[in-house]
Symmetry: C2
Subunit: 291 residues, 2 copies
């Protein structure tokens, strides 16, 4: 029997190990993982931050050499082919060159091609030497499988990022990330990054799919532990391992993000915001409503 109000998406987060400088190899590896996930039935596939270029650049010259325009560049073109072939959506981190400037971006690609681009709003550490701060806000893309937003890594440290995406109607936030170890992390527990994902999913009643990378690059380790959180905040996929390439999956009924926000007769967490106390969020004028 067919279930009513079904909006089931099979999400895959590809926990990959890009190698800095080896762009052609990285594109190939990302394609292999996308193909594997698609063959498992995934139709929304998330990849890590800067997964085509690697992360730790030595020089601006190197960062520029590993960049490309979106969606004309070779990486996007390859991902577009796969999205069309398998009838899937992809959210993946890419080193984007726009005119003479670089952005740490993620692209949303669907069966018909490039859907949209997000440019990392909050730059972390030496990214400030190579990239410009994102200038596209937190766009939410309306697609046949649901409303998709994307963040990159440090953006998750700002509750504002999730709030703004959700206020604009996002059903799911795809986080393309290169999480690094945090001083003070209790190694017996889940990563603080996972705690932030769970909390944000819960308070916004939104799905979050975070694809992290693994490996160590020029001395910089990454922590894996990719995670897919339900609209209640609880993990439905992962956390993945700390150090291995792997793909985690979850079936998500994205409709739940919209229909289960009435927590009782009085409370809906997005409507309960006290704008009189802390103000409207700039950008939320693009609010499409939560329904």
């Amino acid at each position: 029997m067919k279930k009513r109000n079904e909006a089931i998406v099979k999400i895959a987060c590809c926990q990959m190990e890009p190698i800095v400088g080896e762009k052609e190899r990285n594109i190939r590896r990302s394609s292999e993982m996308i193909e594997e996930a698609a063959k498992e039935g995934a139709n929304l596939i998330v990849l890590p931050e800067l997964c085509n270029s690697g992360y730790v650049f030595d020089t601006r010259r190197e960062a520029f050499d590993l960049s490309e325009s979106v969606p004309e560049g070779e990486t996007c073109q390859e991902w577009m082919k796969l999205a069309s072939k398998f009838d899937i959506h992809i959210a993946a981190g890419i080193n984007e060159r726009a005119e003479d400037l670089l952005y740490n971006s993620s692209v949303i690609i669907g069966p018909k091609g490039h859907v949209g681009t997000f440019r990392k709003v909050h730059l972390w550490n030496e990214e400030n030497l190579f990239f410009e701060p994102g200038n596209l806000g937190f766009p939410v893309f309306k697609t046949p499988i649901g409303r998709i937003s994307s963040h990159i890594c440090y953006d998750s440290w700002f509750p504002e990022s999730y709030r703004l995406a959700t206020l604009q109607g996002a059903d799911i936030v795809c986080v393309c990330t290169n999480w690094v170890p945090i001083p003070g992390q209790d190694k017996t527990r889940e990563a603080m990054a996972n705690i932030l994902v769970m909390g944000a999913a819960h308070v916004n009643s939104v799905f979050i799919a975070a694809a992290d990378r693994v490996g160590t690059e020029r001395g910089q380790p990454f922590i894996g532990q990719s995670l897919i959180a339900n609209y209640t905040g609880w993990p439905i996929g992962g956390p993945a391992s700390k150090d291995k390439e792997e793909i985690i999956y979850a079936d998500a009924n994205l409709a739940d993000a919209r229909r289960k926000r009435n927590w009782n007769e009085y409370n809906q967490p997005l409507r309960d915001r006290r704008k009189d106390v802390y103000g409207e969020m700039l950008g939320s004028e693009m609010n499409v409503g939560w329904y």
Copy 2:
């Protein structure tokens, strides 16, 4: 040898079981717990939401009968005596009557008397039948032991609450709470409320001390698990049990909230906010800076 930059506070969260309607008994019980904590050396003592009245009111009449004006009422007067006697600060939830209206409030009391009041900004469920929404914003009180802010329960579901307190210079947020069970809670894990506390402490680099209640009142259970989180987000006290009255303690060097916010050469989480993207927070014009 005396350590430089010492701002050690011994925090106590009193996980108490108030009984609705038995105000005199509740005041006595709160006083016993405050006295016990003070004798253990605590100098910042946090108590649950509405700990003098209980939580589940049957009628407005009952809610009004259990309220009092602040700080003239009997509860505050008793707490002021204790604060003076033991040279301590107290943050505690109280059923406040102001003129003809009720607020779900917390009072900050110091050795010299009443320091200030917070009124719950985000009302939960049937509280909306009895209380007015808080109209005092998220004040931060400057005291000899540090800058103290207070939230109540559902306020923690709004990252805006912690952000606004921290932008105004809070070193610690004392959360007076009556956490209720959340549908979907994975019982093998920490409470989602604890996850929210940890995440908020981490992204704002602020201490958080949450005192919850225990017991079941007119069919409404409460979940305990009081928690004290470090400015890194990790617990330094608790979580307490789910169902027993007890006091948890932690020594906190509140100076760390101010001096450890530079995460690297480029990033400080409060300064990195992209106000051009999501706007200024109303109320942050009271910003005292983070130092």
